[in-house]
């Protein structure tokens, strides 16, 4: 139950130390948290405690976990961490959109694992708002790269299609 000294969290536009602690499945539960547990632990014997206890709670999911299993705890979860086992494994993008757009999740959505700056924009657009970044080269890369696309062709953010539609509406009024 320790902070990982080798990583930082990027959220709300800045790097911060991580206040969340990854709880192993057999470790003691902190009274106040904030603690991140696995879906196995959340849905296991301690599930009732997490549902009603005062501990600030988050869950970390593997790509193969079923999102539907989270439903009983949705209102209690302050953080959901989706793990990129490899940055080329795109499953968490779909999971993030489902959590945000279909399951109404409003808490922190954290990207963990191989989180690289070149995927930051896509992750954010799919609903991630917290990024765990390894120190060292990856962090330097995050600080060096600042080129982002301002034009998007797809939902969920305002897309080019919608912006064109808005222009057409202006023309109709004029």
């Amino acid at each position: 139950m320790q902070h990982d000294e080798n990583r930082l969290v990027f959220q709300d536009g800045q790097f911060t130390d991580d206040v969340w602690v990854d709880l192993p499945d057999d470790g003691p539960i902190p009274v106040e948290g904030p603690a991140i547990v696995t879906l196995v632990r959340l849905a296991g014997d301690d599930g009732e405690y997490f549902l009603h206890g005062g501990c600030r709670i988050g869950v970390r999911l593997r790509p193969e976990d079923r999102l539907g299993d989270l439903v009983p705890w949705m209102a209690r979860l302050e953080l959901i961490a989706l793990n990129f086992e490899k940055f080329t494994d795109g499953r968490p993008y779909s999971a993030a959109r489902l959590l945000r757009e279909r399951m109404g999740y409003r808490g922190r959505l954290r990207a963990t694992g191989e989180v690289l700056v070149d995927q930051y924009a896509a992750m954010r657009r799919c609903g991630f708002d917290s990024f765990v970044v390894a120190k060292g080269r990856a962090l330097r890369s995050w600080q060096a790269a600042r080129i982002e696309m301002s034009v998007r062709y797809q939902a969920p953010q305002e897309s080019v299609l919608e912006r064109r539609h808005a222009r057409r509406a202006v023309l109709e009024v004029a």
């Binding site: 795109g90 999971a95 279909r102 690289l116 890369s141 696309m149 034009v151 064109r164 539609h165």
Partner: protein, 571 residues
């Protein structure tokens, strides 16, 4: 003032009826180019490892080949303006070795660019509204379609506005940029399928419902490669304005559940095959039903109307007669011209016009290669005689889609001077071949020299015409970029104990009655394969019920036995 009026170059200011970028599209490509320049700089500075850089460069069409980097430029749905083609010629000369290679996915490859110069090339492309976005990588690739879209007499609707909508929607899609594997979408607007949609991850066939409303039959799970499978129907009729949402549902099911444990089982065809089409369809329909799509459908309708306006044909001369006396006379008087017309000209939907097909398969040449000078010739002809438009075909040829009949003879003469009047469209020497061992790092055998040898063997045009409609497709490895599975005669180059061995399949078909060819028997050595092809062709010629029975029809009637007998009995 003199009364003399200088004749303006006809068509020099022609605006072709193709999609033109608006301010958003321009900004998008400009930003993407700047982003890639930054990625290249970080790679060169050592901030990105090759492993981290690889998917980024692939998303922008940059491969590391056998000898050098290769840049694959997107030609969306195979449509080019003369201005764009001329720019490709300029890039070929300035940054490459003076030529380019048109691919089976209607794109263009430069085989010798330097990595540090690629951002400059992308800027040159952006100036003429082109890019290399998603021409490789495990993402949604360039959408392909019928090379005669919008001009074919047999078409239900021009599919290109839908292709353009899909192009925009799929560009840097945040959810679908790291799929299990590459993803190819093809659309046909004609029941005569010239886009081989059944061999794609998603195939779309335009249809109309009972009340005449447009829509699509949606197929999924097709692909060639080491496991050739034809796509299955997921939805028999999808209203057209639901297209993006429904394609999105298919992609989401694939992204979540497609296999990632084995690269060779990661295409959607394996998911469809392992789940079964019923279970796959149920998963897609459930995903689709769970979403709210009304707003997106309304946007799709409005956006489609905007895009369709770009593709409205402009500049056709009205009320031309069906026939042109000058054209008819030239056909009667010039036997060589007549032969080219018979092979390479196709009926246009507008009276007095023709579709001119330009073969990039000269005997002894490299299928799909064009020099910068040839590209400029085609661009000039398109501006002067073809409403400024050019198409690239998946069979690696070019098309001038709108040529007045009265101009056809002049176009043919100019093509001939540029070495572009080979009259072999659809004949045995119009071969699809992948780059093979001459360029590709994956190849296990040569394919270009095989194509050249076969074309030389059948160089005699009378013999080619006697043989008739016969498509040979050659791949230099099991990944099947040369589409050998759907060749009437397919040739697959493998490596057996350090020696090239060529496996033959017969009976493949990429058309509306798509079929995967069947392996004939043991493979042939490099110096035997041309003889083997000739034996197959002779067997067909000797056995057919007259010239009306095509190779495919003959094969369907008699099966593989006579071919095997002729090829292997003597061994």
């Amino acid at each position: 003032m003199s009364a003399t009026v200088l004749e303006a170059p006809v068509g020099a200011s022609v605006t072709p009826a193709t999609y033109c970028y608006d301010a958003f599209d321009k900004q998008f490509v400009a930003e993407r180019t700047a982003q890639f320049r930054d990625q290249v700089e970080r790679r060169l500075a050592g901030l990105l490892t090759e492993e981290q850089f690889k998917p980024l460069r692939l998303m922008n069409g940059v491969y590391l080949q056998l000898h050098a980097y290769m840049l694959r430029v997107a030609i969306p749905y195979g449509t080019l303006s003369a201005v764009q083609l001329r720019r490709l010629a300029d890039i070929a000369e300035r940054f490459d070795k003076g030529y380019g290679h048109f691919t089976t996915r209607q794109n263009l490859q430069f085989n010798w660019p330097r990595l540090v110069e690629i951002p400059d090339i992308l800027e040159q492309l952006a100036e003429v509204e082109m890019h290399a976005i998603q021409t490789s990588g495990n993402c949604i690739r360039n959408v392909t379609t019928d090379q005669w879209a919008g001009v074919a007499a047999d078409e239900i609707m021009d599919p290109r506005p839908w292709c353009e909508l899909l192009r925009q929607w799929s560009s840097l899609h945040p959810e679908f940029s790291f799929l299990p594997r590459k993803f190819k979408i093809a659309v046909t607007g004609s029941p005569v399928d010239r886009a081989a949609v059944a061999t794609h991850d998603i195939g779309l066939r335009m249809k109309r419902d009972g009340e005449g409303r447009p829509g699509f039959e949606v197929l999924a799970g097709g692909g060639l490669g080491r496991t050739p499978i034809l796509a299955r129907t997921v939805r028999a009729f999808l209203p057209a304005d639901e297209l993006l949402a429904y394609v999105g549902a298919i992609l989401r099911v694939y992204n979540r559940f497609g296999r990632r444990d084995n690269k060779f089982k990661a295409r959607i065809k394996i998911l469809v095959h392992e789940q079964g089409i019923e279970a796959f369809r149920a998963a897609v329909e459930a995903e689709y039903a769970a979403g709210e799509h009304a707003a997106e459908a309304a946007l799709t309708r409005a956006e489609l109307a905007r895009i369709q306006a770009h593709f409205q044909p402009i500049g056709y001369e009205d009320d031309l007669p069906e026939r042109d006396p000058g054209f008819d006379r030239a056909v009667f008087e010039d036997e060589v011209f007549a032969g080219w017309v018979r092979g390479n000209l196709v009926r246009h939907k507008v009276p007095g016009y023709a579709i001119v097909n330009i073969s990039l398969k000269p005997v002894g040449g490299i299928p799909g290669d064009a020099t910068a000078a040839q590209m400029r010739t085609v661009a000039d002809l398109a501006e002067r005689h073809g409403l400024g438009e050019i198409r690239v075909t998946h069979e690696q040829n070019l098309v001038l889609p709108h040529v007045r009949l009265r101009d056809v003879h002049a176009v043919w003469e100019a093509l001939g001077e540029a070495g572009l009047a080979t009259p072999n469209l659809g004949l045995i020497s119009d071969i699809i071949a992948c780059p093979g061992m001459d360029y590709c790092a994956l190849a296990t055998a040569r394919s270009i020299p095989v194509a050249q040898a076969v074309a030389r063997r059948f160089a005699d045009l009378d013999r080619q015409r006697q043989i008739g409609d016969l498509k040979i497709k050659i791949s230099g490895c099991i990944n099947a970029c040369g589409h050998h599975h759907v060749g009437h005669i397919g040739i697959l180059g493998l490596e057996k104990k350090g020696v090239e061995s060529y496996q033959i399949t017969l009976g493949g078909d990429a058309g509306a009655d798509a079929a995967i060819g069947k392996i004939l028997g043991p493979g042939f050595a490099y110096d035997e394969i041309t003889d083997a092809v000739e034996t197959i062709v002779d067997t067909y010629l000797q056995g057919r019920n007259g010239p009306g029975e095509t190779f495919l029809a003959f094969h369907a009637r008699v099966g593989a036995a006579p071919f095997k007998e002729a090829l292997y009995a003597a061994r």
